[in-house]
Amino acid sequence: MSELVVNNVSMIFDTPDGGTVEALRDLSFNLKQGELLSILGPSGCGKSTLLNIIAGFLAPTAGTVHMDSRELHGPGADRGMVFQQGALFEWLSVAENIGFGLTMQGRPKHEIRQTVNHLLETVGLRDFGNKAVYELSGGMQQRVALARCLANDPDIILMDEPLGALDALTREKMQGLVLKLWKETGKTIILITHSVEEALFLGEKLFVMAPRPGRIHKEYSLPFAEAGLTQDPREIRASTAFVEKREEILSMIWEMEEQIMGTAEV
């Protein structure tokens, strides 16, 4: 059982013209083992920055990130990443991509093979192990990225718009897969998205972030992810509760966008 604790994190970037951007101000939250958090917000509100800080690729200008009592500095295999696309290794086969982490850690070959075969099955790519990744469709590539991340058995999975480049239909299928993996593995997941529907459907918790400075504008606890495990996702999406939340959040984001446009014009 591990808990992620983000404590008063701030991030200020220097810009090339000599100014500064306050990408995050005083952000705090906890995430218990097995929680599924989605983060939504207009572009430029610091979502990627937050994820990069948790992943350990950026050091915050103030504040700390802890995993249980251990303060995090730099990246580690305990936090897996899934990127939008283009982060697979084209020179390796699908199976070698999935086994990359274990290979780097020097695990025995038969163990790697076993894990890889199991994961190929889990993400629905059973017969694709020997394929080259560039032969796969975008959706299949993201399945490989998920499997590669899971192979390492991280405590937490960080996803930065993992389904953003997929077509609508593939995207819905992949959302189902994410839910399935969440249930089967019990991993903590943070998922960034710019789709309100996706955020509602794939978030037990949902943060709507606001820009300038980047901060958590509103927090929700949502029933839809849990329900999605048993019910038809299309029914959930069409339910009154879902539609109401969607409209509420959409108008919230529209308001933010208008404010951004307003300040930009000044």
Binding site: F57, G76, F89, W91, F100, N152
Partner: protein
């Protein structure tokens, strides 16, 4: 169907169905990519013109020999040799110099390029040097290498090393620069160490750039070695051409030029084949 279309079908080089159905071809590179028919026609026409032209005595053989005399020279030189060396020894002398010089250039250039792509200090120190030497044509160093090590093997190899070095440095540096940050981040999050990231991510990721560099370097080396042999050497294809020209043996000169062209072309084809085999993912990332 036009006569040309029928002819193309006869020799089995008809365009694919899609290309045939395209109504807009002007500006569509794919639609004009397949010009094999016209390649054959142009080569055939040139060969015919050469043959007919010399048979009718249009040009003085001192200026341009007949195909037959070039062929005769080819037979005689491959048998008896020219200036103490057989034709193949001349060819091999040139190729050998390239192979050694090029390999040395890769051996030093690739690690240096990597270091420049990975370390601010190395990059800072070597940037001015590389940027200075890069635009200097290798031939400009011929006088210098002759002063240093005469007209023997060493001076040629040094020259070719120099020719290949900067190209490979820049190719390797560009290769490191081309790696997507998300790949590096993914590798770190999968628990890879710096050394593992170098070997398993940065190196394979930079292979396409390195290979392109190698192809360019091979071409430059081939041109440089022939030119260097024209200036000063005791063997090699360039040397053969140079000596023959002093005796006005135009047929040998032309034979040499044809051999230079064919080998240069052959090297490029070989590199492309190798590239397709070793880096099948190139351009597909």
């Amino acid at each position: 169907m036009t006569f040309i279309e029928r002819l193309k079908e006869r020799v089995g080089i008809s365009a694919s169905g899609l290309e045939k159905r395209k109504t807009v071809t002007f500006g569509d590179a794919a639609a004009v990519a397949d010009g094999r028919f016209w390649s054959m026609m142009s080569v055939l026409t040139l060969a015919m013109a050469w043959y007919v032209g010399s048979a009718l005595g249009w040009v003085n053989p001192i200026f341009w020999p007949s195909p037959a005399s070039v062929w005769d020279q080819f037979i005689s030189i491959s048998g008896e040799g020219y200036r103490n060396f057989s034709l193949w020894e001349h060819v091999w002398a040139s190729l050998y110099r390239i192979l050694v010089g090029f390999s040395l250039g890769c051996l030093i250039g690739i690690p240096l390029g990597f270091a420049m792509g990975l370390s601010k200090v190395v990059r800072g120190c070597f940037d001015p040097i590389v940027e200075f030497f890069r635009p200097i044509p290798p031939l400009a160093f011929i006088p210098l290498v002759i002063i240093w090590s005469g007209i023997g093997e060493r001076s040629k190899i040094l020259l070719l090393f120099f020719a290949a070095l900067w190209i490979m440095v820049i190719a390797a540096r560009a290769g490191v620069g081309s790696v997507k940050l998300s790949k590096i981040h993914a590798a770190y999050s999968l628990g890879a160490s710096k050394k593992q990231i170098l070997w398993h991510v940065i190196l394979p990721n930079s292979l396409p750039e390195i290979f392109t560099g190698m192809r360019v370097a091979m071409g430059v080396c081939w041109g440089t070695v022939v030119a260097a042999e024209l200036v000063a050497a005791e063997s090699g294809v360039g040397y053969m051409i140079m000596v023959a020209s002093k005796f006005l043996s135009t047929d040998i000169v032309v034979l040499g030029v044809i051999i230079v062209g064919l080998i240069g072309y052959g090297i490029d084809i070989l590199m492309r084949k190798l590239e397709a085999k070793l880096i099948p993912w190139k351009g597909k990332a």
